[in-house]
Amino acid sequence: MELFGDYFKQLYDTSGWNFVIFYDQVEWQRFVEAIWTTIKLIIACLIFSLIVGFVGAWAQGAQSKIVRNVIAGYIQFFRNTPPFVQILFFYFVLGNLTPSYDAGGYQEAYIGSFGWAVISLGFFAGAFNTEIFRSGIEAVPESTVEAASALGYTRLQSYIHVVFPLAFRVCLPALNNNLVNLLKTTTLAYGIAVPEMMYTANQIWSDNVNVPEMMIVLFFFYVGLVAILVYGMSRWERSMKIPGYG
């Protein structure tokens, strides 16, 4: 660590490239915290969007026309408006309407900026996940579903144990794309001051006037994260591969 820091200090002194986060203890601390916040944000958004997709795709197959229309409206809304506008809307409009509590002299909202980022980005990606899962569900043969009902499965049981597991495998490539997209879109959380990497980088370059350096760091950071996600997804895909199927 010492050597590493010295190298970047040296680099700054000799060439002017200021990777301040690698030799300044305070900035390094900021950077590390941003890494954790970003990872937590991404994981929360991924999980929430998958749950939304799972439930949404289920509800799309509902008997009730009202339920189906609500889902269709939800998808249209989130697909056809900018995610940045969505996140601002959630935080500033819905955030104002939700209750807050007295935190010793000032009002603290129950759902903070991190929470709103997860909710809005989760719904945003969830709209796409719903569509993706639905396309997977359509690929599950009607006869397989029928076999489940003949065995006494309810529609929900058959969705959980038969339809979804099969649909999920079919739509993994499309899901992969959308989750990578979601990962990248989490940078929009800087708009509502979630201290994730984009926001923190912005603060660091404001304090240190090292925009190009921090940009480079940002690129490498997100390339690394996407690589990890893609690797994880392909591992998952392989572990779910069914012998003798597809």
Partner: protein, 260 residues
């Protein structure tokens, strides 16, 4: 496992084994404008094995799919152990616990192994104890002669093996009636026999069976009664000996002359 007369409640309670286990009366079924069943009636007693034969499109599949409510009917009545299938408030689970079904295309769950396919429904649907289900499943694996294939996925099994898993999967629910819809039609001639043997054993053990089949030799040997359908009607029926050797209706005769 409750005995048939005890299982079920509501409309199913007054059934006794001296009444038909499945009683189909004047069933009409249309798909849109197409009337596929035009008043079909037949009874199946407990322990009986009946075969439905007839030309393609005559409504055989439609009929047996009505018995476990995979198809609804427009008119008539189907009683399974006294449970009325043509009832908007039908408890489908109650019906499907009584009626097992095996399909032409096996329709196994491809993401589960053979043994998991067999164990899934009793655990999920009947909420039975896992260990008991596993024990039952293993005995069923033996029954259909698939020892050693427990952990194979459907995609790794031959058609005949898959179909025997499908039979075991259905039996795991301990049904009182089994429906078989041309279960050997998708199989190689060599594997047809192993599946038919399994069904024959079941029938001999006293399982009530309704079969749609093109295997006339099998029907003659195993069935108690043969029904011949054409254009949505039962044209002729009888015990195998009379039916095959002494058919009365010209349509039956023509069909038999083509197929035998």
């Amino acid at each position: 496992m409750a005995s048939p007369s005890q299982s079920g409640n509501g409309s199913g309670t007054n059934w006794t084994p001296d009444q038909p286990m499945v009683s189909i009366k004047d069933v009409h079924k249309s798909f849109g404008d197409l009337e596929v069943l035009k008043g079909v009636s037949l009874d199946v007693m407990k322990g009986e094995c009946i075969c439905i034969i007839g030309p393609s499109g005559s409504g055989k599949s439609t009929l047996i799919r009505c018995v476990n409510a995979l198809n609804d009917i427009q008119q008539g009545s189907i009683l399974v152990e006294g449970l009325e299938v043509n009832d908007p408030n039908l408890d489908k689970l109650e019906l499907r616990k009584k009626v097992g079904m095996v399909f032409q295309q096996y329709n196994l769950f491809p993401h589960k192994t053979a043994i998991e396919n067999i164990m899934m429904a009793p655990i999920t649907v009947l909420k039975q104890d896992k260990d008991e289900v596993a024990e039952h499943a293993n005995s069923l694996i033996k029954k259909v002669r698939l020892e050693g294939k427990e952990n194979s996925y459907p995609g790794e099994l031959s058609g005949g093996q898959q179909q025997r898993v499908a039979i075991a999967r259905s039996l795991a629910m301990s049904p009182d009636v089994m429906l078989f819809d041309e279960v050997t039609a998708a199989l190689d001639p060599e594997t047809v026999k192993e599946v038919l043997n399994t069904i024959q054993e079941l029938a001999e053990e006293g399982m009530t069976c309704i079969l749609v089949t093109h295997e006339m030799g099998f029907a003659r040997e195993v069935a108690n009664h043969i029904y011949f359908t054409d254009f949505g009607l039962i044209v002729e029926h009888g015990a195998p000996a009379t039916f095959f050797d002494d058919a009365k209706d010209p349509r039956t005769k023509e069909f038999l002359s083509q197929i035998l």
